[in-house]
C-alpha cells in the first residue's frame, strides 16, 4: 500500500514545477549571461567581458541613466516611506479600533489602488493633473506613487498586527504608559517586521512602475523604467542588459532581506 504514504505526491507535479522555474528564470539568466558578452553584436558570443558594466557608469549614456536611477530611487524611498507611515496609522485604526462604522468602506478605499487597473490609474491621474493645471514632473510622479503604494505597505503591516495580541499594550497601559508610549515602546517594535516588509514591498512596487510614471512624468524627467523603455525601442543593447542584471541583483538582495526579516520576526514571536 504505497499509496497511503503518497497523498502528497502527484505524478508530473515535480516536472511542472521544474517547467515553471525554467520559464521564470531562463530569460533572466540569458540576459545576465549576455550582459557579459564582449561583442557589440547582440547574439554572437565574443568572449567574457565586464565592459558593459563599466559602460553603464562611465559610457555616453551614463549621465541619463544616473539621473534616472537617482529619480527612481529617491521617488521609491520617499513614496514607500510616506505610504508606510500612512499605512501604519490605517492598520492600527483598522485592527485596534474595534468595531466602527465605515470599516468595510475604509478597507475598500485602502485596497482601491490594487483593484483599479494600472492603465486606468495612469489615465485618471494624467487627466486630474491636467485639469487642475499642475505641471507634471517629479512631484506628480511622487504623489501618484505614494497613492498606489499604500495598499502594498498596508497588507503586510495589518497582517502582522493581527497576529499581535493586545495583552502587551494593555499591560503597559495598566502600568500608566501613555497611549503614545505604549505604541512606541511596545506595539511598534512588535510590528516592526511587518512595517519593514511593507516598506520593502512598497519600495519595489514604486521602483517597478512604468505605466503610471510614463503618463505623469514631465519634461526632462525619466525614471529607470521609462529610460530603459525608451532605450530598448532602439534596440536591446548590451548596456541595457548590464543595467537589467544590476536591477535583478538589487531585487534578489531585497527579497533576501525581506526573507531574513520575516525569519527574525517569527523567532521573536
Amino acid at each position: 500500500m504505497a499509496a497511503r504514504t503518497d497523498i502528497r505526491r502527484y505524478m508530473g507535479f515535480g516536472a511542472l514545477t521544474a517547467l515553471c522555474l525554467t520559464v521564470l528564470y531562463v530569460p533572466l539568466i540569458v540576459v545576465a549571461v549576455y550582459s557579459f558578452n564582449a561583442s557589440r553584436s547582440i547574439t554572437a558570443w565574443g568572449g567574457f567581458s565586464t565592459h558593459w558594466y563599466v559602460d553603464v557608469f562611465v559610457g555616453p549614456e551614463a549621465p541619463i541613466f544616473r539621473a534616472a536611477a537617482w529619480n527612481s530611487i529617491s521617488i521609491a524611498f520617499l513614496a514607500s516611506t510616506a505610504a508606510t507611515v500612512i499605512a501604519v496609522a490605517a492598520a492600527v485604526a483598522m485592527v485596534r479600533g474595534g468595531r466602527f462604522r465605515g470599516r468595510q468602506t475604509s478597507f475598500a478605499i485602502i485596497s482601491l489602488p490594487l483593484m483599479v487597473p494600472e492603465i486606468v490609474i495612469a489615465v485618471a491621474t494624467l487627466i486630474f493633473f491636467t485639469t487642475i493645471g499642475v505641471r507634471t514632473g517629479y512631484g506628480t510622479i511622487l504623489i501618484a506613487h505614494i497613492t498606489f503604494c499604500i495598499p502594498f505597505a498596508y497588507l503586510p503591516i495589518s497582517a502582522r498586527l493581527q497576529g499581535i495580541e493586545d495583552t502587551y499594550e494593555l499591560a503597559a497601559r495598566d502600568l500608566y504608559a501613555t497611549r503614545w508610549q505604549a505604541f512606541r515602546l511596545i506595539l511598534l517594535p512588535l510590528m516592526m517586521p511587518g512595517v519593514i516588509s511593507g516598506w520593502l514591498l512598497a519600495f519595489i512596487i514604486s521602483l517597478d512602475d512604468f505605466i503610471i510614471t510614463n503618463f505623469v512624468k514631465g519634461a526632462g524627467m525619466e525614471t529607470l523604467p521609462t529610460a530603459i523603455f525608451g532605450s530598448v525601442k532602439q534596440g536591446i543593447k548590451p548596456n541595457i542588459m548590464a543595467i537589467s542584471t544590476l536591477m535583478l541583483a538589487v531585487s534578489v538582495i531585497f527579497v533576501t532581506l525581506s526573507y531574513l526579516i520575516n525569519r527574525i520576526g517569527q523567532k521573536a514571536r
Partner: protein, 338 residues
C-alpha cells in the same frame, strides 16, 4: 482648488537655474558631443526628451507639457498644424545672428512663410529598405510594403507615423493627399487593411533595430536611419519607389510659453552654425538646410546611396489637410492601428 494647484506647482517645479534649456526632440537625432559643445560655449544645461512621431509629440504637448519645453523639432506639416493651433512662439531674424545661414530654398517655406517660428534642422526622405539576403527582386515600388512578395509577407515593419504612412499609401494608390473623395478614401482604407495582414509590427523608434536584428526583412524607414542600419551591418538597400516617396524637413520651433526663451534662441542660433549643422548631419546621416556645411560633411554621408537618389526619383511633402479632412484620415489611421 487653486491653493492645491499652487502647492503642486511648487512641489513639481524645480528651481530654475539661469542656464537651462528643455528640448523635445526626435530619438537618436542629436550627438551628445554637440550638446556638450553647446554647454561649453554658453554654460546652458540642456535636457533632451525624445518622441517617436510628430503626432505623439503634439499629443504630449497637449497633455500638459506645453510650457515645460523650450524647443521641439516637428516635421514640415506638423509645424503648420502647431502654428495653426497656436502652440508656437515667434521670433524675428535680428534675434538670431545666424539667421542668414538658412539656405535660400528653405527660407520661405509654405509651412512657415518667412520662418517666423522655425529654423531648418535636417531634411531627408521616407521610403523603405529591404534586406537583400531575403529578397533579391526589384524593390523600387511601394508594392513591397502594400502588396509584398511572398518572401517578405509577415516580415515588414511599418512606421508608427500617421502622416508618412498615409501619404505613401496615397502615392501607391495614385490618389492625391487630403482628398475628400469618398470612393478614393474608401479604396485607400480597404487597401491598407488588406496590407496590414502582411505587416509584422508598427514602430518608428524600432525601425532601425528590427532591420539590424533581422526581426523584419523590410521596413518603412527614413533615409538616414537606413544608412545607420546599413552601417551597423544590416545588408539592406534603401528603395526609391517609382510611385514616389515622402520628402520632409524637420525644423526647430520655438514653443509657446517656453520657460527659457533666450536660451532657446541661442540654441537655434547655435544649430544654424554650419559646423554644428554638419555635426548633426554626420551623426544622423540626413542633409542640412544650412549654407556652408559642405567642408565639414563626412564623405560617406555626402556620397551615401541613401542621400543620392537616382535620376527621376520623385518626392512629395506630407500635406497638412484642413481639420474636417484630417478627421477622415484620423479615422482611417485609427481603423488601421486597432
Amino acid at each position: 482648488m487653486k491653493k492645491l494647484a499652487l502647492v503642486f506647482t511648487l512641489l513639481s517645479t524645480p528651481a530654475f537655474a539661469a542656464g537651462e534649456l528643455k528640448v523635445y526632440h526626435w530619438f537618436e537625432y542629436m550627438p551628445q558631443e554637440l550638446v556638450d559643445k553647446f554647454k561649453a560655449e554658453t554654460g546652458i544645461n540642456v535636457t533632451i526628451d525624445t518622441y517617436d512621431s510628430n503626432e505623439a509629440m503634439l499629443a504630449s504637448l497637449k497633455a500638459g507639457r506645453l510650457g515645460q519645453y523650450d524647443v521641439a523639432v516637428p516635421g514640415d506639416y506638423m509645424v503648420k498644424i502647431m502654428a495653426d493651433q497656436g502652440l508656437l512662439d515667434s521670433f524675428t531674424a535680428d534675434e538670431m545672428p545666424n539667421f542668414d545661414n538658412i539656405q535660400d530654398e528653405w527660407l520661405d517655406v509654405p509651412f512657415d512663410p518667412g520662418r517666423k517660428h522655425s529654423i531648418p534642422y535636417q531634411w531627408g526622405s521616407t521610403a523603405f529598405s529591404v534586406n537583400r539576403d531575403v529578397y533579391k527582386g526589384d524593390i523600387n515600388t511601394l508594392a513591397i510594403i502594400f502588396d509584398p512578395p511572398e518572401e517578405l509577407k509577415g516580415r515588414i515593419n511599418v512606421l508608427d507615423s500617421q502622416g508618412e504612412v498615409l501619404a505613401l499609401a496615397s502615392m501607391y494608390m495614385g490618389i492625391p493627399q487630403c482628398t475628400q473623395d469618398r470612393d478614393q478614401l474608401k479604396t485607400l482604407m480597404a487597401m491598407l487593411l488588406e496590407a496590414k495582414a502582411n505587416w509584422a509590427s508598427f514602430g518608428s523608434d524600432t525601425a532601425k533595430d528590427v532591420l539590424v536584428s533581422g526581426d523584419a526583412a523590410a521596413g518603412m524607414i527614413y533615409n538616414g536611419f537606413s544608412a545607420k542600419a546599413r552601417a551597423e551591418g544590416a545588408n539592406i538597400e534603401y528603395a526609391y519607389p517609382k510611385e514616389g516617396a515622402v520628402v520632409w524637413m524637420d525644423n526647430v520651433v520655438l514653443l509657446k510659453d517656453a520657460p527659457n526663451r533666450e536660451n532657446a534662441l541661442k540654441f537655434m542660433n547655435f544649430l544654424l552654425d554650419p559646423k554644428n549643422a554638419a555635426a548633426v548631419t554626420n551623426y544622423a546621416a540626413y542633409t542640412p538646410g544650412v549654407k556652408g556645411t559642405e567642408p565639414f560633411l563626412a564623405d560617406e554621408i555626402k556620397n551615401s546611396p541613401e542621400n543620392n537618389p537616382p535620376e527621376g526619383a520623385t518626392f512629395d511633402f506630407v500635406a497638412a489637410c484642413d481639420k474636417e479632412t484630417q478627421r477622415l484620415y484620423d479615422t482611417i489611421w485609427t481603423n488601421l492601428k486597432r
